[in-house]
Subunit: 194 residues, 2 copies
DNA sequence: CTCTAATCCTAATGACGTTAGGATTATTAT
DNA sequence: ATAATAATCCTAACGTCATTAGGATTAGAG
């Protein structure tokens, strides 16, 4: 049985499926090859290394996240758009916890990949902040602030540090997001788009 | 050469040193054994497994963090205490980036360990929030909010997602912390320690 | 001074990622 | 149609990894 029609896209998609199913730490080239009814060595005709594969998987997952966030924002603007972004950000991360881990582990090392990943991550936040009367520099700051908050919340939650708390984590998240929105308005008021 | 006086504390300390020096992913039992002038197998007389070792290392790192944060807060109160906590949180994470990764990777699985880790992580935040006129439930929410923000910021920074930005990340962090403090005061005003 | 328990070693196992080189099939040029 | 070329997948092997079993050596208790 030769020429089974293997290619990079098939391998990347299978890797994503395997990781979502068994978890990121349990992944191995052997299991991936078994899943594709192929010997492990055959994979190396289409990918350079496992690390390179992880990069491709990360970029693919990042595109999934990008789609999810942008479609959640839709045609909304201002506070509603921020709220929608925050809600969909947390939902994507919890529904694709393993892929989310890869996204966060990916950019170490390769600078070109880092820039592509950073741009894709930033876009939904840039879009949502466009409606606020802030300078470009302020928007940049608030982009980092929003991303930090959302990622941090999701990350602590996934690590398990927020379990066993006698309060609704969902509600905590909403408090945080509302706090950010208040902060955005305060900043708008203090310096009218200087 | 027998009976070299190996014990768990020595192994844990050496692991921390090795990780801080060469990074978390580069760690191996071989290197650890070499560092201690011992064969790899000998380590297993004092630790159950590598994962168990990681747990001990994580708890030890968490104690280091606990010391660092509490001494930074010192006798300060209110907004000054929150600011000091935020500043020291970010500093500890950047000075001990590899240990910080372990802290965040540790609690998966073992529930007893998770509770100990969660309690130790929470304490500095609980102390800082004690000065605000808020209900216990509100304090709980804001503890999660503050932790989420600080961790998220630090984590994105370490992953590399905040590099190549034409603004001072330090300043972004201060904006975020000030926003949180404003939020705390607003919450105090709306419901006087209900 | 002997017995026991702890300590450390040698040796081996199985899983892992990765590479080299050969066999087989598809594609292209004649 | 057929020969030359390229792509695809395989077998086999290597070195590294964490981990375990069992034996040799040493320290401390009776």
């Amino acid at each position: 049985m030769f020429h089974k029609g293997l290619n990079q896209k098939i391998i990347v998609d299978a890797t994503k499926a395997l990781m979502e199913q068994e978890g990121f730490p349990a992944f191995s080239m052997r299991k991936l090859a078994e899943m594709l009814n192929v010997k492990t060595a055959s994979l190396y005709a289409h990918i350079e290394s496992m690390e390179a594969l992880f990069t491709e998987v990360g970029l693919s997952a990042l595109r999934d996240q990008w789609d999810c966030l942008l479609s959640a924002i839709g045609e909304q603007h201002g506070d509603a758009a921020v709220t929608a972004l925050a809600e969909s950000y947390r939902r994507f991360a919890s529904e694709h916890a393993e892929l989310y881990k890869i996204i966060m582990q990916m950019p170490t090392g390769n600078d070109a990949v880092l820039k592509e990943a950073a741009a894709m991550t930033a876009e939904p936040f840039i879009r949502v902040l466009a409606d606020y009367r802030l300078s470009e520099e302020q928007k940049m700051h608030w982009q980092l602030v929003l991303r930090g908050l959302m990622h941090g919340f999701v990350s602590e939650e996934q690590a398990g540090y927020f379990s066993h708390y006698p309060v609704s984590v969902e509600e905590s998240y909403q408090i945080a997001v509302r706090c950010m929105i208040d902060g955005l308005h305060k900043e708008e008021g203090e310096s009218n788009g200087r």
